[in-house]
Structures are given as structure tokens and as C-alpha cells.
């Protein structure tokens, strides 16, 4: 029995090493694509170029998750850095984490951020920084709700890794439409200008 188990274990170890090697290879390839986009893109600060960099970077991170998680499970980080004590990892028996005080603090934070958003409306600001700040605040609020109210902070990391990256990638892919809205708008102003020029003739 024991030799059979050990043999299986050895095979599993081998599988894991092959899987991690493939994942690392993909991660390196995507990281290379992401970085080489810096050179390929004529103007780095354009929507297209930033989009490519972010999507490739995220893909690289997704492929990195498995090897890093594997290393973490094996305790490779602890042995390398000597960090982490038993107290950092709550025992499985704890059914519900978080106190009333903590949740009340989260609620207060969320309400305060909402008030900041309303005050922002009164400050006359150009559209782009305003939008950026609003989205940033909303993301912080969403993270607070996800982490504390929806309890994701206390769930297993494998659940987080399954849900969040896929969602983020899908949302990023939807941004692919925005260059077209810009083109559409320019198209109209250009044709209007052409009509004006013709009228002046």
C-alpha cells in the first residue's frame, strides 16, 4: 500500500512540476508580449497600447497564479523568507469571522466615500479626472463590500482566483468597443466640417 501511494505521489509531483513549468512558460510569454508592446506601440499612452499591455499583463498574472499558489502551499515562501506564523492562519473551525465593530467601520467607510462622491459633483472639474476618481472610489467600495460583507477575504484563495480574474478579464475585453465610439464621434465632426467648407464655397 505504502509503496503504491508513494509511487502515485511521485507521479503527481512530476505532473505538478510539468504543469507549473508550462504555466511559467505561458506567463513569461505573455509578460514578454506585454513588455514588447512598449516598443511596438508608437504612442504608448494610447487606448490601444494600454489595453494590450493590461490584457497581456493580466494573462501573465493568471498563468503565474498556479505556480505561486503551489509554491505557497508547499511552504516555499516561508522557508525562503522566514515569515508567517501560525497565528496568521485562522483555524478551520472558526465559522464566522469579523465583529460588529469591524462591519460598522466598513459601513462608515462606505458612507464616507459616498459623501465624497456627492461633494465631487459640486467641484467643477473636467470630465476625465472626475470619471477616473469616481470609478476609483467605486472600485474601492466594491472591494470593501466583496472583502468584508461578502466575506471573500475569509474564503479560500482558490475561490477568489477562480472568480475575480475571469471577471476582470471579461470586463477589460468589453473596453474594446471604446475606440469605435471615439471614431464615430470624429467621423461626425469631420463630415460637419466638410459640409461647412462646401457651404462657404
Amino acid at each position: 500500500m505504502s509503496t503504491r501511494t508513494e509511487g502515485l505521489k511521485g507521479a503527481m509531483d512530476k505532473q505538478e512540476i510539468v504543469l507549473n513549468a508550462i504555466c511559467l512558460l505561458f506567463a513569461a510569454a505573455f509578460l514578454f508580449l506585454s513588455l514588447s508592446n512598449l516598443r511596438w506601440a508608437g504612442n504608448f499612452l494610447s487606448i490601444d497600447s494600454l489595453f494590450m499591455t493590461i490584457v497581456f499583463g493580466l494573462l501573465a498574472l493568471i498563468f503565474l497564479i498556479n505556480p505561486v499558489y503551489w509554491a505557497w502551499k508547499r511552504g516555499l515562501f516561508e522557508s525562503a523568507f522566514g515569515a508567517g506564523t501560525e497565528a496568521d492562519y485562522p483555524a478551520e473551525e472558526v465559522h464566522f469571522a469579523g465583529s460588529t465593530k469591524l462591519f460598522f467601520a466598513v459601513l462608515t467607510g462606505l458612507l464616507a466615500l459616498t459623501i465624497v462622491e456627492v461633494i465631487l459633483a459640486y467641484i467643477q472639474m473636467s470630465l476625465k479626472p472626475m470619471l477616473a476618481i469616481l470609478i476609483g472610489l467605486s472600485l474601492i467600495k466594491a472591494a470593501m463590500i466583496l472583502g468584508y460583507f461578502m466575506h471573500l477575504k475569509y474564503e479560500r484563495m482558490s475561490l477568489v482566483f477562480t472568480l475575480i480574474p475571469a471577471l476582470v478579464i471579461c470586463i477589460c475585453l468589453m473596453f474594446i468597443l471604446f475606440p469605435d465610439s471615439n471614431r464615430n464621434r470624429n467621423l461626425r465632426t469631420e463630415s460637419l466640417r466638410a459640409i461647412k467648407v462646401e457651404a462657404e464655397k
Binding site: T5, L8, K9, M12, Q15, K73, R74, G75, E78, G84, E86, Y89, A91, E92, H95, F96, G98, T100, F103, F104, V106, L107, L110, L111, T114, I115, E117, V118, L120, A121, Y122, Q124, L134, I135, L137, S138, K141, A142, I145, L146, Y148, F149, M150, H151, E155, R156, S158, L159, L163, L167, C170, I171, M174, F178, D180, S181, N182, N184, R185, R188
Partner: protein, 231 residues
């Protein structure tokens, strides 16, 4: 190796003393989350994408238009929507308290907290319907703007009503569903497990989370600093 053993989950170890990857080959819960709860999480992800698609469509329409109406004065629209945000956030807090009470096997207290959550949801709905009624009274329709708005923003896209009613309407539908869901859970709380309460909480927090994006993008971005200009 000793450090690794300390950090392995106790529950996982009971199942998988001999193989690390055994957890993923069936018969176990690899996420340490029940099937129902995992199902709710997957639903939440797909529903989040539905709302994202709508918000992206709204942003597209707004960005590609020459002009966009920004008609929300402090009173009533911004005041109401801020109060609605407050209602939803507070109801999220009471829902967490319900889940906490349920985790401590205090079903009576859990039922009361769920009742408070439903009250917050109903208050949100009442305020939102009043707000809708106000806008419809002004003459806003899904594909046309009120005459006073067209006078003030001559080139504004008529899609304002379509995006507003579609996004807030779908969200309102989620709140209605959530209140009904919580009602069923609290009515049958003695026969339900703690996990059921927790899952209904997940849904409720998600409805709250969506509003955190709807509120700034729909309301704050359409704030009207000079309402006196409106005839």
C-alpha cells in the same frame, strides 16, 4: 516540511493524507464552499457581466454623442439617490448582522435583522419609484427627452431615457427579487440552514455592489450645477 504541514488546512488533510491533489479529483469541496454557495458566486459573476455590458453600452452612447443631458439637480434627484445609497448600504450592514446571528445559531435575531434588511430594500424601492415618477412627470421617455431639456441641451442624445430606465430598472428588478428572496428565507428560517441565509446575503450584497457603480455613473455624472437655467 514541518512548516508546510502546519499550513495545510485541517479539513483537507482529513481527506487527503496521502495525495495533495486528491481534493480536485471529486468527492471533496475544493473551494471549501458548498455547491449552493458556489452556484450563487457563479451567478453573481455572470450577473456582474450583464450589468457591466449595460454600463459599457451607456458609456459608449454617452461618449459618442455630441452632447448629453445633465439634468439631475440636488433636489430631488441627487438628494434622493444619495438617500437610496444610504438605505442600500445600511441594509447590507443589517444583512451581515443577520448572517452573523445565524452563524451563532440565533435564528430569532437573524429573522429580525433580515426584516430590517427588507425594510431598507423597500425604502429604496419607494424612493426610487418616486424619483422615476418625477422624471416621467417631467416628460422623460425611453427614446425622447422633455421639451425643456431639448431647449437647454439642443444636441443631447435622446438615449438618456433608454439608458437610465434600462439600467436603474434592471437594478430595481434585482432589489424586488432580493426582497422577495429574503422574505422567503426569513419566513422559513427554522427549516433553512445557515448556508442558505449566507447565500441570500451574498445576493443582497451584490445588489448593493452594483448600485455602487450605477450611482456615480448615472447620477453623479449627470449632476446639474445650475438648475436655475432650466425653464
Amino acid at each position: 516540511m514541518a512548516t508546510a504541514e502546519v499550513h495545510t488546512d485541517h479539513l483537507a488533510q482529513a481527506h487527503t493524507d496521502h495525495l495533495v491533489s486528491d481534493e480536485w479529483s471529486g468527492g471533496a469541496l475544493p473551494y471549501h464552499v458548498g455547491h449552493k454557495k458556489l452556484g450563487m458566486w457563479l451567478f453573481i459573476v455572470s450577473d456582474a457581466l450583464t450589468f457591466t455590458a449595460l454600463l459599457i453600452a451607456y458609456s459608449y452612447a454617452r461618449y459618442t454623442s455630441d452632447q448629453w443631458a445633465t439634468p439631475f439637480a440636488f433636489s430631488p434627484s441627487i438628494l434622493f439617490s444619495t438617500t437610496m445609497t444610504l438605505c442600500l448600504l445600511s441594509s447590507s450592514f443589517t444583512m451581515v448582522m443577520a448572517v452573523k446571528a445565524s452563524a451563532h445559531r440565533n435564528k430569532r435575531s437573524a429573522r429580525r435583522w433580515i426584516g430590517a434588511t427588507m425594510f431598507g430594500g423597500l425604502l429604496f424601492l419607494a424612493l426610487h419609484l418616486y424619483e422615476w415618477n418625477h422624471l416621467i412627470g417631467e416628460g422623460l421617455r425611453p427614446f425622447s427627452l422633455p421639451a425643456a431639456w431639448i431647449e437647454r441641451w439642443p444636441q443631447a442624445s435622446p438615449l438618456f431615457g433608454a439608458t437610465f430606465f434600462a439600467i436603474t430598472g434592471l437594478h430595481m428588478f434585482h432589489v424586488v427579487t432580493g426582497v422577495a428572496y429574503l422574505g422567503v428565507i426569513s419566513a422559513r428560517i427554522r427549516k433553512r440552514t445557515h448556508e442558505d441565509v449566507e447565500i441570500s446575503g451574498l445576493y443582497w450584497h451584490f445588489v448593493d455592489l452594483v448600485w455602487m457603480f450605477v450611482f456615480p455613473l448615472i447620477y453623479i455624472m449627470s449632476f446639474d450645477p445650475n438648475p436655475s437655467l432650466m425653464k
